[in-house]
Amino acid sequence: MILTLLWTDIMVWILLFTIVVWSWVVSGSPQVKKQWHTIFKSSIAMASATVLLFYLLFTLLDSVHFRLATPSTDTKSQQVQYGEMTSLLDLLFSHNIKNTERTYSAPFATHEYAKSIVVDANGVTKQAYLPLKHVSNNNDLLQKSMFAIFMGIVMGGSLIFLHMVWRKKRGFKSELPWRTAYLTLLFLTVIFTWFYMLSYHYHVLGTDKVGGDVLYHSLKSIRTGVLIGVLTTLIMLPVAIILGVSAGLFGGWVDDVIQYLYTTLSSIPGVLLIAAGVLSMQVMMDNNPTWFETTLERSDLRLLFLILILGITSWTGLCRLLRAETLKISQIEFVTAAKAFGVGKFTIIRRHIIPNLMHIILISIVLDFSGLVLAEAVLSYVGVGVDPTMHSWGNMINQARLEMAREPMVWWSLFSAFVFMFILVLAANLLSDRIQIVLDPRNKS
C-alpha cells in the first residue's frame, strides 16, 4: 500500500494544521478566548458547530488517499501492482462500491424501479420488476433498524461518556451548553450508524441510473462541497488582506492601483471568468493526457483549478471592506501614538491593524462559506464546475434534471443532494450569524 496524497488533500491537511496552531496561539489571549466562549454559549451555535464537525470528519476521512497492492496474477514478476486510488471513506463503504445494481431503485426497495423485459423459465416474454441483486430478502427491516439504532446509541453514548469523564478530570465548570452538543452528536451518530449498518443489506437512499448507491455519492460529495467552501476562502484571504490593508494604509498610487484592479475585476461577470478559466484548463488537460496516472488525479486538478478561479474572482468584496476599515483605523490615535514611538510600518500592521480587522475577516469567512458551497452546485449544474466524474452535489442535481422528467419521478438523488447540502449550509449560516453577533463591535451596547 502506498500513500498518494492529492493536491487538495495536502491543502486540507495544511489548513487543519494551521487552524490547530492558530487556536493554540490564540488560546494564550484571554480576550479572544472569552469571545469564542461567548459564541458557543448559544446552544444553536453549539449544535451547528457539532454538525459542521461531523461534515469535517467525513472530509478528512475522504482526504487520505492511497493505492492498495492488487494481488498480481502474474506470480513471476517481482513488481507489485497497485490499483486505483481509494480513500478511508471508500474503504468504509467498499461494499457499496462493489454492490452496484443494474439501474434505478428507490430507497429500501427490494425490486428495481422500472419494469424490464424478461424471458421466464417457460420461454414466455413478459415485463416484470426485477429483484435487486444485493438486497436481503428476508423481511427484517424493523429488526435490523432496532439493532442499528441500539448500536448507534451505544457508540454515541460512549463518546459522550468519555468526553464527560474528561471534563470531570479537567475539573472546571463551563457554562457552555454541552447538553445541546451531546444531543446533536447522539442524533447524528444514531442516524449515521443506522444508514451505515443497513447499507450492507439495502440501498438506503436508493440507486442512481447506473445502479450506484446514492448514500455513497452523497457522502463523497461532502468533501467536494467543504473543500470548495474552505479552500477558496483560504486562497482569497491573503490576497484580500494584503491588498486591502496596503491600499488603506499606504494610500497614494498604491491605493489607486489596487482600487483600479478590484473595480475592473468586479465589473467582469464572475460566471464568464470561471467558465473561460475552466474551459481553457479542460483543453490543456485534454492535450496532455500523460500528466495524470489516474482519473482521480485528473478530476482533482480540475477541482483545484476551480477553487483557484473562484478565489481570484471573489476577493474583491472583502478587499473593499478591509480597505475602508484600515483607512478608519489608521486615523485613530493609537496608530499615531505608535508612529510617535517610531514603530515600523509592518509592526503597525501586525500589531495594531490586523487584530482590529480580525472580526471582519472571520465574519466574511463564515458568510462566504455557505455561498461558495451553493456556488459549486450552480456551476456544476451549468457545466463549468467540477469534473463530471467527480462526486458532487452539483453533479447529482445536474443528473436529476432528466430524472425529474420521468414518469414516475425519480426523486431520491435530488432529495439526498438537497438534504445533505441544506444541512451543511444551514449549520454554517446559523454559526456565522452567531459569530457576527458576538464579534461585530457595533452590536455591543
Binding site: Q31, I332, E333, F334, T336, A337, A338, K339, A340, F341, G342, V343, G344, T347, R351, H352, P355, N356, M358
Partner: protein, 538 residues
Amino acid sequence: MNSILNVENLSLTIGKDEILKNISFEIKQGEIFALVGESGSGKSLTSLAIMRLLPDVISVSCGDIKLKKKSLFALPEYEMQKVRGKSIAMIFQEPMSALNPVMTVGAQVAEVLKIHLGLRNDAVKMKVVSLFKEVALKDPEERYNWYPHQLSGGQKQRVMIAIALACEPDLLIADEPTTALDVTIQAQILELLKKIREDRKLSILFITHDMAVVSQMADRVAVMKEGEILEQAVCKEFFSNPQHPYTQSLLRDAMEKKEDSKIKEEGEKLLEVEDLKVHFPIKKGFFQRTAGYVKAVDGVTLSIPRGKTLALVGESGSGKSTIGQAILSLVHMTQGSIKFENKNLATLSERALKPYRRKIQIVFQDPYSALNPRMTIGNIIREGMVSLGVGSKERAAQDEHIKELLLKVDLEAEHARRYPHEFSGGQRQRIGIARALAVEPELIICDEPTSALDVSVRSQVLKLLRKLQEESGVSYLFITHDLSIVPTIADEVAVMKEGKIVEQGSVEEVMENPQEEYTKTLLAAAPKLPNKNKEAYT
C-alpha cells in the same frame, strides 16, 4: 410666577437597579433652571423622562411629571405626541446629527410648523424667515434654501433653536447645547438663549456639566450625582455658599489655580520652532494636480523652556493640533525649522529621528481611541520601550518598570494585565500618560488631554501632569481650546488664530492684560465663575 413644570419624586429603574432616585424640582415661567452633573449622573435621563422618550428597558417606578398641572404620564400616546414639539421642545448637543442632511434647513423648520400649527405655504415661509431673524441668522431669506452642510456649527445650533421655538413652546429643554461649540460661538448662543427667554417669557431646562456656563445662565441650579439631586438653590446663593460637600469639591475643581512656584529664571530653551509653515495641497481632477493650499499653520514661531509649560490656545481649525503633529514629524512641514536641543528635526531622516522620538511624546484628546482595544495595558506601555530601546531588554525588568509607571500615574500594578475597555475615561487618560512617560521623554505634547473628561476627573489629570513636571522636570506643550484651565497648568500662553499666533506671553500678561483684539474677544466670551477665592469652597 406660576410654575410650568413639576417633577415630583421621580424614580426610574432598569430591572432592579434604581438609576434615578426621588427627583423633585419645579420650573417657573420665564425661568432658566440648570441641571448640573458629571457624565452618568442622570441629567439626560431626566430630560428623556419629561419627554416620555425613555428606552423600553427603563421603567418609571414612582413619581409624576406635571406640565402646567397636567400629569404627563396620564396622557395617551397621541396626546403626548402633541405635547412634544408643541409644549415642550428640545435642543441637543450635536447639531450636525440632529438635522437631516438632505433637506434644506428652511424646509425642516417649515415641516414642524405644518404639523403642529397647520399653516399654509406662504404663511409658513414668512414664519420661518421671522424665526430665522429672531435667532439672528444672517440673510434669513437666502438661508431658507441652504443645506445643513453649508452652515457652520453655531448656525446649525441656531436653526435647531428656531425649530424648537417654531411652535412657541412653554418649556425648552437644552441638553448641553454649547458643548460642541467654540468659546466665542458658545457665548453668542448663550446670549441668544437669554434674549429669547426675555422676549418670550420662556422657561428653559438647561442641562450642562460646565459650572461657569451655569453661573452665567441660570436662575436656579440643581446638582445631580448618581441619580440623586444633592443640592438645589438659587444661582447666587449656590455659588456664594454651596452646602453639599460634592458641590464644594466640584466648584473647587472648576476654578483651581496653579500653585505659585514660579521662580522667574530663564531656563535653556528645549524646543524652538521658527517660522513653521504646514500647507496641505488641495488635489483636483483626474490627474490629482494641485489646485491650491490649505494653510493649516502659517509662519509660527514659539519656544518652550526646559521644565515649563506652554499653552497653545485657539478655536477649532486654528491649526494648533497640526503644530503638535509637525513637532512629532507626523506631518510634512512646508517651511521653517523645529529645533530640539539645538538640533533641527526637519532635516533628519526617519532613522536619525529615532533618538528624538524618545524625547518627544504625545498624549491624546480622546482616551477611548488612544489605546488599542486588542492589547493589554502592559503591552501598550511596553511598545514604545521596545521600539525605542529604552530601559532593559529583558521582559521581567520591563514588567517591573511598567509596574512603577502605573503606580506613578495612580493606577494599580495588576492593571497591566487588563484591557482598555475595563477602564474609565480618566483612567485611560492616565494610561496614555504612562505610555508617554515609559520612554522618559523631555517634552510631552498634550493635545486637548482633558476636554473629553468630567470636571473632577479633569482636575485630577491636571494635578497628575503638574506632579510629574515637578518630579521629572518634563516640559509640556499644552494644546487646548479651554481658556479656563490655562492658569492651572501653564507658564506661558500662545493664542492662535487661522494658523498664526496672534499673541504670546506669560500667563499673567495675556490673561489679565491682553493686547490683541482676538485675545480680548476670546477672554470675554469664556464663561467665568463668580470671582470668589478658592477658600470659600473649602
